[in-house]
Amino acid sequence: MSDHEIEVHDGQAGRPMDNPGLEKHHPRPTDVDPQMEKRAERQVATLFGLATLLTLGFCVAYFAVPLDASFLGWQANNLALGLTIGLALLFIGMGLIHWSRTLMNDHDIAEDRHPIASTPAARESSLAALSEGGSDSGIGRRPMIRNSLLGALGVLGLPAIVALRDLGTMPAGRPSRTVWEKGMRVVNDVTGAPIKVSDIEIGQLINAEPDVLVENEEDDPDGEENLEGHDLLNAKGKAAVIVVRIDPAKINARKARQNWGIDGVLCYSKICTHVGCPISLYEQTTHHLLCPCHQSTFDLAKDGEVIFGPAARALPQLPLAVDDEGYLIAQRDFEEPVGPSFWERGGEEDRSA
């Protein structure tokens, strides 16, 4: 035992002085003055008593204070319930601590520590037990059994993974497509109204979406079925767009995109190419669009290119046209996947085109 214990050093060896030893106990006022003691006792009991009253107050308030009442701008019911129960709990806690500090015996106790490790004898005996168990089973002598068991147990990991397959459907290229298609109308995402070029002033930005996403739209001209529920949200998460009108003289689009806008009206994906927040902050004068999530900044006059921030890709642009009635429609779907990048998103498109 003794040489084992030496392993735990006492933390004193080689110190420049000897440990002066425990300080002596200082009596508290409540230890020496019976009046103070009585007073502390009364204080503790008072705290507990107040807590009881407040808890009962909580029960009364629960029924007495209506949910729709307000008190100085607070929801009165919430305030009354919270204050009563909060103070009740606080008083119980204060009572307990006051009790322990003033009245409970506060003499320090010193307790010995023992090394965490077992004695060498105990260690040896458990090692012996382990190896006896091992040799009784013969696991060391029969490698065929051992290895085949390890194999069988190892393979069990597979079903645990395979059985999770139905957690979700396969991507099947869906991240690369949206509901936009040729001739689909671009509509205001609040009113659901189709948009004419003449409706938009230079410098204006409209949040828009494909007309199939408009909820409860009775007279859909194409008779297309409207999406609902989570199909709607899934589609919206990719197809949301913004329509802006920029002075055509200021637009600096590359050649291939010259006919994607109409009189300075351009349409871009609203979903940030960084990690997918909907982008909303437009600065008219610079025609910059700022993502509120991590502040990627895109230049809408220059093919939606990234000016600053963590996004790596320009905002995808939706090629626009107008239909017979003069409303904005899509020429086709986006040419590249919208939203955040992903592994199989496909190569960089040719920027020089």
Binding site: P16, N19, E23, N78, L87, G229, G276, P278, P292, A312
Partner: protein, 561 residues
């Protein structure tokens, strides 16, 4: 056995104890050693308790919330009491959160207490962890408990994220949207993982029920198991203690578990529950009705996640937009590095710290006495530099708010942060180390020459000095009782047979790291120095309790260093 006991415990106690022990033999365990276990006292030991009690509060309030919360993304039309949203289409989850807030009495209170307790839980865990790191409480034999603690912190953060994603309001949906973007950035499996996690395309209608399962079953289950293990180990190891008179590495001095510690800790539980309840009554948190239901084409500007998500946000914000194509496949460094790799690296460093330090010091002994942060200058400086990384990232996570508040240019703040994140931590390291060394030097001075009395003396030569009075032995002990390490010996370059020794290279590297870590430390006073200093002052004036004698005799002046 039901023998007559010699202790005169009242019948109301001895009766049930005997009944239970006859059936369980628990008295074998719950004997004096267990029930009167000694707990040292220090304010910093309460931090872990705050975390524990806020977890209990989360369990209690969380169960209440489950009675009404509907973890479903099915679309419903809202008909509850909150007029501004009436008639709107939204998910069942969001609508039931509105019901809890407006139509269930005490519902709003429970939601707010739950949320405040969650914020407190994670803050307390983090500060508790810093306490452990700064004082060296993670050293052997407590490494396992340190690892458990780090896992608790990580799980706590995940639990919190799952929790505030549940109400399916605009803010929580945006958080999920970002999480989905991060998952997608993982090479090869990212897109599939995202589709499997969300049950198809984002947002789908599976995510809330799945997060709900994680939030109320899986993660709390793991948390409870780990908290239990954490406390069992704590009990088993016995708490560390600060060095002080009578405290050694082989004892533990403090108050008994029963009754003092129980009363204090129990009282503390009620205080924290009380305070969080008052916060729930008075301070609004996560007013989901103001954000509206989730809609993937909308976002609230300037919205901020719970505080502990701040650094993830900061990481994403300061990363430049790098992306590469490899054989037609896309690697989004701009998301992968800050969103997946960096948090993993930071967490791994924190998780493995005890082992890293043990490798440097080569110290394999048990430690039960805490270290003052100044007495481990390099460790303290290292932790401060980690905190600097954390703080800077957290700051960067609010760069838009800073830009707005102080009318600064957002992009310049971001550029500045990109640089600062690399030069800030080393600067913090150097400054902290200097401060620690300065404090060590001051300690040494104090131990040798006592404290400054504020009495100015004039020597016959006309020189002015301040009178120093010696410290009590208790105070001196606190200043000089810390341990300093010896440099580990180098392994010989060749072994006995003259063959090159591979261990030599490693030991040389370690020796170098050791030197970096320890060489600047101010050498502790030696026994001789201390005796010499005291013999110098002793005969003349002992300050302990007695009056300083001969205060007007210039010959007794101590030189001021």
């Amino acid at each position: 056995m039901s023998q007559q006991s010699k202790i005169n415990a009242p019948k109301s106690v001895s009766g049930p104890v005997t009944w239970l022990d006859d059936r369980t033999g628990l008295a074998n365990l719950a004997n004096k050693k267990f029930l009167r276990k000694v707990f040292p006292d220090h304010w910093s030991f309460m931090l872990g308790e705050i975390a524990l009690w806020s977890f209990v509060i989360l369990l209690l309030t969380g169960v209440f919330l489950t009675f009404w919360f509907k973890p479903s993304m099915a679309e419903v039309e809202y008909h509850g009491s909150y007029e501004l949203l009436r008639g709107l289409h939204m998910s069942d989850a969001y609508s039931s959160t509105l019901d809890i807030s407006f139509d269930v009495r005490a519902g709003l209170l429970m939601r707010q207490v739950h949320h405040w307790a969650a914020i407190l839980f994670i803050a307390a865990m983090m500060v508790h962890m810093l306490r452990i790191l700064f004082t060296g409480a993670f050293r052997k034999p407590r490494e396992i408990n340190y690892v458990i603690g780090s896992l608790l912190l990580m799980l706590g953060i995940l639990e919190g994220f799952a929790g505030y994603s549940l109400p399916d309001d605009l803010l929580s949906g945006t958080g999920l949207r970002i999480a989905e973007g991060l998952i997608r950035s993982v090479p090869v499996v990212g897109t599939y993982t995202s589709f499997f996690a969300f049950g198809g395309e984002f947002p789908g209608d599976d995510m809330i029920p799945r997060l709900y399962m994680l939030h109320i079953l899986l993660i709390p289950g793991l948390l409870i198991a780990l908290v239990t293990a954490h406390l069992v180990l704590l009990y088993y190891h016995k708490h560390t203690q600060w060095p002080g008179p009578g405290r050694t590495n082989r004892n533990v001095v403090g108050e008994p578990f029963l009754p003092i510690y129980t009363a204090k800790a129990g009282g503390f539980f009620f205080i924290i529950f009380g305070v969080t309840s008052l916060m729930g009554a008075l301070l609004q948190i996560n007013p989901v009705w103001k954000y509206g239901p989730y809609n993937p084409s909308e976002v609230t500007a300037g919205s901020q996640p719970d505080w502990y998500m701040g650094i993830a946000e900061g990481l994403l914000r300061i990363m430049p937009g790098w992306e590469t194509e490899v054989f037609g496949y896309t690697l989004s460094w701009n998301v992968l590095l800050p969103g997946v790799v960096a948090p993993g690296v930071l967490f791994t460093i924190a998780l493995l710290y005890p082992f890293i330090e043990q490798w440097i010091t080569g110290d394999k002994r048990e430690h039960h006495l805490l270290q003052r942060p100044r007495n481990a200058p390099s460790r303290t400086a290292f932790i401060v530099s980690l905190m600097t990384v954390y703080g800077l990232l957290w700051f960067a996570g609010g760069n838009d708010i800073i830009a707005l508040k102080f009318d600064l240019d957002l992009n310049w703040i971001t550029r500045f942060m990109r640089v600062l994140i690399f030069i800030g931590p080393p600067i913090a390291f150097i400054i902290t180390k200097r401060i620690c060394l300065g404090l060590q030097r001051a300690d040494r001075e104090r131990a040798l020459h006592g404290f400054e009395t504020g009495i100015i003396m004039r020597a016959p030569s006309g020189e002015y000095t301040e009178r120093h009075a010696p410290l009590s032995s208790t105070e001196t002990w606190k200043l000089v009782s810390h341990e300093q390490y010896d440099r580990p010996e180098l392994e010989p370059a060749v072994d006995e047979n003259g063959v090159a020794n591979p261990a030599s290279r490693r030991s040389r590297l370690r020796s170098k790291v050791w030197a970096f870590w320890y060489d600047d430390d101010v050498t502790n006073v030696s026994r001789e120095e201390l005796e010499e200093a005291h013999s110098h002052t002793d005969g003349h004036h002992r300050a302990e309790g007695t009056e300083v004698e001969g205060a007007d005799e210039p010959s007794e002046l101590e030189p001021k260093h």
